[in-house]
Amino acid sequence: MKTILFFLLFFPFVGGFILAVIGRYLPRRVAEWIACASVLGSLLMASLAFGAAGEKRYLLTLFDWIRVGDLSASMTVYYDHLAAIMALMVTFVSSLIHLYSVSFMRDDRDYVRYFCYMNLFVFSMLVITLADNLVFLYLGWEGVGFCSYILIGFWYSDVANATAGRKAFVLTRIGDVAFGIAIALFFLILDQLSIFSINSKAASLSAGTATLLALLLFWGAVGKSAQLPLIVWLPDAMAGPTPVSALIHAATMVTAGAYLLMRLFPVIALSSNAMVIIAAVAAFTGLFAALAALGQKDIKRILAYSTISQVSYMFLGIGAGDVTGGMYHLLSHAFFKALLFLGAGCVIQALHEEHDIFKMGNLRQRLPAVFWLYLVGSVSLAAIPPFGGFFSKDRILLSTFGHPEPIYKFLALIAEIGAVITVLYTFRMFFVAFLERPSLQEDFRKKDLKIPKFMVWINAPLAILAIFAASLNFPEVFGGKSWLAHYLASIPGGIPLSPASAPLERSMEIGSGLLNIAVLIAAYFLYRPEARFLGRPTPVVFRQRLEELLSSGFYLDRLYQVALVKPYQAMARILWLKVDEGVVDDQFDATANIFRFFSSGLQLWTTGRLSTYLKMLLLGFTAIVSALALGWYYLR
C-alpha cells in the first residue's frame, strides 16, 4: 500500500522533473508521452489503491521532511475514503485533460513548459488530496497556487495574461495567510500538525478556539475557491489556455478549498457559528455568481462564474453539515464542468479564438459532436433530472433545508434561487452559441471549422460520467443504492442518508426537478434564436445598466480598485515621492554636495596624466619621510 501511494504521489512529480530538466532535448512526441504517462500512471495507482484499501484507512509516513524540536513535518499520507475518491477524481480528470492538451497545444511551441507545469500541478493537487501533515499539505496548497499563476499567465507575451496571473496569485495569497495562521494555531494549541490527530483531538478544543480556527480555515478556502470577497481572480484567470481552466479553475484546484474543510470537518463541526457563516457566505456567493454569469458574453467567463457558483454549493453542503453532499457535488461538478470547459475549448479553437457567444451560433450543424457533449454538460450543470448535477445539488439543498436552525431555511431559499438562475444562464449560453441565428454575419458562418477529432472524442468519458454520476449516489427514496453516501459514511461528517424525511425528500426533489425543467423551457423562449432582442443593442437605458452591472460582476473589481488598490497606490506614491525621494534621497544629495564643494579645488590635480601622478606620489612620499625623519631627529 505504501508503494502504491508513493507512486501515486510521485509519478507526476517525476514526469514534471524530467520535462523540466531534459524536456527541451526530447522529441515532441516523447515529451508529450512522458507527461501523459506519468499522470496515467498515477490514475492506475489511484485505482489500485482504491481497490486494495477496501474498508481500511491508512496513515503512512513516506519520509521525514523537517524535524525541529517539537515540530515535525513529515511527508505523511492519510488515505481514507474521502481521499480515495478525491484522488481517483483528480487523476482521472487530469489524465483526460493531459491527453486533450496534446491536441489542444499542437501548434504551441512552448509545450514542454506547459506539460511540465501541468504535471507539477497534478503532483501538488495530489499532495493536497493525500497529505496528513498540514505543513506537507501547505506545500501542495502553495504548489497549486504557483502552477495556477504560471499557467494563467502561460501566454505571457500578452501583458493582460500576465496581469491576470499576478492577480490570481496575490488574491489567493490573502487566503493562504489565514491558512498559515491556522496551521500555526493548530500547532500551538494541539501540538499537532497531523490531520488525523487533529481530528481525533478536536473535541478538546474550546468553542471560541474552534470558531476562530474554523473561520481561518474557511478564509483560506475562500481564497483558493474564489468565494465571495475574493471572487474576482477567477473570471480573469480564464486568460490561460482552456485545458488549464478546465483542470485548475474548474475541476480540481478551486475545489481544494472545499476539500480542505471536508478533511478538517471535525474542527469545523464544533462551531455552529462558523457553520452558519460558511453556509451564508456560500449561499450568497452562489446567487451572486449566478447573476453575474447571466450578464457575461465571453463563454469562458460564463463558465468561470458558474464554477464559483457551483463551488459555493459545496461550501453550503459543508456549512449544513453534509460532507457527503458536498463531496458528491464536487465529483459531479468536476465531471460536467471539465466537460463544458473542454467543449468550450473545442468551440473556441474551431472558431479561431472567438470567445463571444453572440458571435457564435449554428454550431449544432457545424460541430455536431461538440453540440451533444456540450448539451450533456449543460443539462448536468443546470441540474435537470436525471443527470448527475441534479441529485448532487438537490442533496445539498435538501440538507440545508432540513437543518434544524431556522436561518438555514432562508439560505436554502437563496440557494434555490441561485439554482434557478443557473438553469437560465446555462441555457442562455447554450442556445445562443449552438442554435442557428439568422442575424449572424455570413462571413463568419462560412469560416472553416476544423479541429482534431481526438480533441472531441476524448471528452466522451467525461460525458458518460456526467450522465451517470447520478448512479453514484442515486437516492434511496427513488429506489437507488446511495453507493457514494455509504462509501463515505466512514469519514467524519459523512451522513449515509440525507437528513430530511423521505416524503419531504421525495416531494422536494420532484418539485425542484420540475422547476428546473420549467425554467429550461422559459430559457428557450427567452434566448431561442428568434428571440427579438438578441443580437441588436437594446434602447432601454435601464436594461443597459443592468447588463453592465451583471457583466462587470457587480462592479466588484471596480470597488476593490477604488477602495483598496487606489489608496494603496496613493500611499505608495507618497512614500516614494515624499519620503524616499524627498527625505532620504535629498539628505544624501545634500551631503554629497558638501563634499563636492570642498573637493572642487582638488579636482584640478587630477590631470589624468600618469607622469603627474607619479611625480606627486614621489613628492608626497618624500614629504612624509622627511617629516618622519625630522620628527625622529628632534623628538628623540
Binding site: 579636482q603 587630477t606 590631470t607 589624468g608 596624466r609 600618469l610 607622469s611 607619479l614 611625480k615 614621489l618
Partner: protein, 101 residues
C-alpha cells in the same frame, strides 16, 4: 663586512634615486616599470646591508619577500602593458588619461 656600511647605503640611495627619476621622467610604460624595479632592488640592497650590520636575519627574509613582490609585480605589470599596447597601440603613459576628473 668588507664594504663599509655607509657605502652600501649610499649605493642604495643612488640606485633608488636613479629608479625614481627614471619612472618619473620617462613616458614609456616599460621604462616606468623598470624604474620601479630598480627602486625595489635598491630597497632590497639596503635591507641586506642593514641585516649584515645588525646581525639579524629579518632583513634578509624581507629581501626574499621583496623578490616575490617584484616578480609578481612584473608579471602583472607586463600583462597590463601588453594589454594596453593592444588596446591603444601605444605605450605612452600620457595617452592614458581617461581617468581625468
Amino acid at each position: 663586512m668588507i664594504v663599509p656600511y655607509g657605502n652600501v647605503l649610499l649605493l642604495a640611495i643612488i640606485l633608488f634615486l636613479l629608479g625614481a627619476v627614471c619612472s618619473i621622467s620617462r613616458r614609456n610604460l616599460l621604462m616606468i616599470l623598470i624604474g620601479v624595479e630598480i627602486m625595489l632592488n635598491a630597497a632590497g640592497l639596503a635591507f641586506v646591508a642593514a641585516s649584515l650590520k645588525w646581525r639579524l636575519l629579518d632583513g634578509q627574509a624581507f629581501v626574499l619577500f621583496i623578490f616575490a613582490v617584484a616578480a609578481s609585480e612584473v608579471a602583472v605589470g607586463l600583462a597590463l602593458i601588453v594589454y594596453s599596447q593592444r588596446r591603444t597601440g601605444s605605450l605612452n603613459a600620457d595617452q592614458y588619461n581617461q581617468m581625468k576628473g
